[in-house]
């Protein structure tokens, strides 16, 4: 690369003007920035960290702290100083639009009726870090500031910088964990919203003080800012409401490009006014977003139109610009690292400690208080925004900037693992109210239950019909849980905000309920569940565990299996589920008394489970069953078959030569073949095992592949019935 890039730049320089060179350099920079931030974001997602952490780390990696340190010449070549002003302009535009989005998602309804706990915690979570931040300024000012910065400006800035909470990151963590509807989640969102508004107002005040030199000189700026806030809350909101009315009355009820242009012009105008007043552009952008009428068309449409370009293109540039200014190498003395540790400790003590004690005093348990305090300690990119302003204004020095960036990273990075440690997800789920509990059946402990994940509309009817067929022998005591998990999009998006996520789940529940109503099932048998999930496989297993399911019944939508190295979610569910898993490959199956089912039996425990499920199906349908065995049936299996043979047609056929070809041929006259996964399925690159995968591809009938998990049986009640009455009690 060292050879290629210089020649590339020299060609550009030789063929065109310096301007062309800068454009090319910028394009290369932005490409690198977007690619690396996405890669790092995804890597951090893999370790259960918010995507934004990865993006921030990517920015720092590209700066002098890593890339510049390891490859100084290449770094200077790829990020020449001449291009930095252009990157800065893009970053500033990105910030204006990002702060507009933050304002858009600010919903004052969050503050209504949340009780004393929210009010107290939110204010203490600002005042305590502000107090500790300004106290820390006493220690840091002599060593890390200069006489050019008045102490008042320095201490005010330190207090404000310590007080910030990253509302978007916090909201995302809560939504991903389905906590936003819990008492704890509601308080956290309220507190973060209050913190957000307070922090930006505080920052506006700090900027006016810094620019004016002292508090008295800042009075005109502060008064102008208050007048502007008042103007936006009254006149601005009224004008925007009329605009929203106009949009809603328009023919297609969508924001036209002309309307978007008008709104963006307003945004830029607000940013400019706040800059002219003497606060910062971002405050005007935030305020403009916050006074937007909270109507679905207006806010949702606008957010969706704005967020992709802002979050994918512009925000990573801001992170990189921050990274290029972050010199971790400046902390080159032990005393500086001790100062850095002190900054992290004071920031955490203020935010975590303040929130913890305030929440405890408000009546929350220690565990809940700790969880809330950890969430409030998340600073994320909001801190970076404040820090960049501080560095631009010269209030903080580069070394202190680096310390504060590390503090922002540490406090955000620890949030997810510490939250999981203090308050594991299972504890939240225990405390949560399942959406369908109001329709709970009279019998709270069903004798048999099936979890049916529904992902593909084309297969969901077939899956539920199969689940009902499996339930048929004990319909009254069986529960079927059709589950649909709503996956949120990117790490930060308007749709992933708690209110929007709630709407998504409600719409989803409605769709599921309509599907359930369309099926003929006894009341209470089908109990749909819908929830947000960040990890589909993991959450499905969690649902199955919580419902003590006997079986997870999955669909399969891929046409070819044999070269699938990973098997996707199905394989992960099979690996982690603590119950039996059956994968149903539907090729137009319609079960009835005339149906013919077959079990391929080769003596594994998975085949045994497949046989049990087959017996359930034929018991319910009174259909025919053929057991195609490649090994001799065990005595236990023979006894089981004998028990059911009294009332069912069960044939046993030994497959002697080329079992695969025989089964493929037999599948022409069979409706459904059940078979277990291969014994070594987890060790191979095949999803279910080599033989099973081959059969799936070659067989003509529908198939059900079963993976056994210990301690699960599908026939207990049926066998008891059969033994006690000496005949099977079959309900058809």
């Amino acid at each position: 690369m060292n050879l290629v890039v210089p020649s590339f730049f020299s060609i550009a320089a030789a063929t065109g003007s310096g301007q062309l060179n800068i454009v090319l350099a910028l394009l290369i920079q932005i490409s690198i920035v977007i690619a690396l931030s996405r890669v790092m974001g995804l890597l951090f997602k893999k370790i259960n960290q918010p995507l934004v952490i990865g993006e921030i780390v990517a920015g720092i990696m590209l700066g002098p702290s890593l890339f510049g340190l390891l490859f100084p010449e290449l770094s200077a070549l790829l990020f020449p100083t001449e291009t930095l002003p252009y990157l800065n302009i893009l970053a500033q535009i990105g910030l204006i639009f990002f702060m507009f989005l933050v304002g858009l998602e600010f919903n004052s309804d969050n503050l209504k009726g949340k009780g004393d706990a929210a009010v107290i915690v939110s204010h203490v979570s600002i005042i305590a870090p502000f107090f500790l931040g300004s106290l820390l300024a006493i220690y840091l000012y002599p060593s890390l500031s200069t006489s050019a910065v008045p102490f008042v400006s320095f201490s005010l800035f330190m207090g404000a910088a310590m007080s910030v909470t990253a509302f978007p990151v916090l909201a995302r963590i809560l939504t991903e964990r389905n906590l936003h509807k819990t008492y704890l989640g509601t308080i956290a969102i309220t507190c973060a919203a209050v913190d957000d508004v307070t922090a930006w107002c505080l920052l506006a005040f700090v900027i006016s003080v810094v620019r004016s030199g002292d508090m008295v000189s800042a009075i005109p700026t502060t008064l102008l800012a208050i007048v502007y806030i008042g103007f936006m809350l009254t006149v601005g909101r009224s004008v925007l409401n009329r605009l929203a009315d106009y949009v809603e009355k328009s023919n297609n009820q969508k924001l036209s490009q002309l309307m978007v242009a008008v709104i963006y012009l307003g945004l830029l105008g607000s940013a400019m006014i706040s800059e002219v007043i003497g606060i910062h552009t971002i405050f005007g952008a935030f305020l403009y977003g916050a006074v937007m009428p909270q109507r679905n068309i207006f806010v949702k449409d606008l957010a969706e139109k704005t967020e992709d370009f802002t979050l994918v293109f512009l925000l990573p540039i801001f992170f990189t610009y921050t990274g290029l200014r972050t010199q971790i190498g400046l902390l080159n003395e032990p005393s500086l690292w001790l100062d850095c540790v002190l900054v992290i400790l004071m920031a955490t003590m203020g935010k975590f400690g303040g929130s913890l004690f305030a929440a405890k005093l408000s009546g929350l348990s220690w565990r809940e208080s700790s969880a809330l305090a950890v969430l409030m300690n998340t600073r994320g990119l909001m801190e970076l925004i404040i820090l960049n302003i501080g560095l631009d204004l010269g209030v903080i020095s580069p070394a202190l900037f680096a310390m504060m960036v590390i503090m922002a990273l540490v406090t955000t990075f620890v949030t997810s693992p510490v939250l999981e440690w203090i308050y594991p997800l299972r504890m939240f789920s225990e405390g949560q109210t399942a959406p369908t509990d109001t329709e709970a059946p009279q019998d709270p402990t069903p004798s048999y239950s099936i979890v049916v994940p529904l992902a593909n509309p084309s297969s969901q009817d077939g899956l539920l019909t199969m689940a009902l067929a499996l339930a048929l022998p004990q319909q009254q005591q069986t529960r079927i849980y059709p589950v649909h998990l709503v996956q949120l999009g990117d790490a930060y998006s308007f749709g992933s905000q708690p209110d929007q996520a709630d709407k998504l789940v409600k719409e989803d529940q409605q769709r599921l309920q309509e599907l359930v109503n369309s099926l003929k099932a006894p009341p209470g048998t089908l109990q749909p569940l819908s929830m947000i999930s960040d990890d589909i496989s993991h959450d499905l297993c969690r649902v199955a565990e919580a419902q003590q399911a006997n079986l997870v019944l999955l669909g399969w939508h891929r046409p070819v299996l044999t070269h699938d190295f990973f098997g996707g979610k199905v394989r992960r569910i099979m690996e982690t589920a603590t119950t039996d898993v059956a994968v149903f490959i539907d090729r137009g199956l319609s079960l009835s008394a005339n149906s013919k089912l077959a079990v391929l039996y080769s003596g594994t425990i998975h085949d045994r489970s497949a046989l049990e499920l087959a017996l359930r199906l034929v018991s319910g349908q009174r259909a025919k069953l053929e057991i195609l065995h490649t090994v001799e049936l065990s005595r236990e299996t023979r006894d089981l078959i004998a028990l059911f043979r009294e009332h069912l047609t069960i044939e046993c056929t030994e497959l002697t030569q080329d079992p695969i070809a025989s089964l493929v041929e037999a599948s022409r006259s069979i409706d459904l073949i059940l078979l277990g996964t291969s014994a070594q399925w987890g060790l191979e690159r095949y999803v279910f095992g080599q033989v099973t995968d081959e059969l799936i591809v070659r067989c003509h009938s529908s198939l059900m592949i079963v993976k056994h998990h210990r301690q699960v049986t599908h026939l207990n009640a049926l066998v008891v019935n059969a033994e006690s009455s000496a005949s099977l009690t079959l309900k058809s």
Partner: protein, 155 residues
């Protein structure tokens, strides 16, 4: 938002605490704390004895980046490339050290100087006062006394 009197009192109490405590901290800090003088910038140096590393036509520059009492600096030719001229100002200089009461001491165990090839230890001890700098530079065991003045344009 409806608030009961107890919460209102607590709310008022917290605001009062924040304002009063900050007023005390600000008052204490303003009266009792002094930070280091701002000495960051570029200083045009005049070496009292000639050095092979610099010519008289292109005098050396001492570029100082400052984080309070912590410094990083460069000694470069005044016709060096802009990134080199600016790197110490953004905290990426080759020399590190401290300033205590306007007395500057920055050093590097191995650094090139001007047009001289090879990296050697470099030590600069100087006093900065009202945009003027006076001190000595030690490189390859030779001491070069110097004086200098701050360039008006820092960009």
């Amino acid at each position: 938002m409806q608030m009961n009197p107890k919460s209102l009192a607590l709310y008022a109490g917290m605001i009062t605490f924040a304002v009063v405590s900050y007023a005390i901290i600000a008052d204490y800090g303003t009266k009792n704390l002094t930070a280091q003088e701002d000495i960051s910038g570029k200083y045009v140096l005049t070496l009292e004895s000639s050095s092979d590393c610099f010519t008289t036509a292109v005098p050396p520059l001492l570029v100082i980046g400052q984080s309070g009492g912590y410094l990083n600096a460069d000694v470069v030719s005044s016709d060096a490339a802009p990134p080199v001229l600016r790197r110490a100002l953004v905290g990426n200089g080759k020399l590190n050290g401290r300033v205590i009461e306007q007395k500057v001491r920055v050093e590097s165990p191995s650094v090139a100087l001007g047009s001289c090839s090879g990296k050697q230890p470099l030590l600069i001890e100087a006093t900065v006062d009202k945009d003027m700098v006076k001190g000595q530079l030690t490189w390859q065991g030779v001491i070069y006394p110097f004086t200098g003045s701050k360039k008006v344009s820092v960009a």
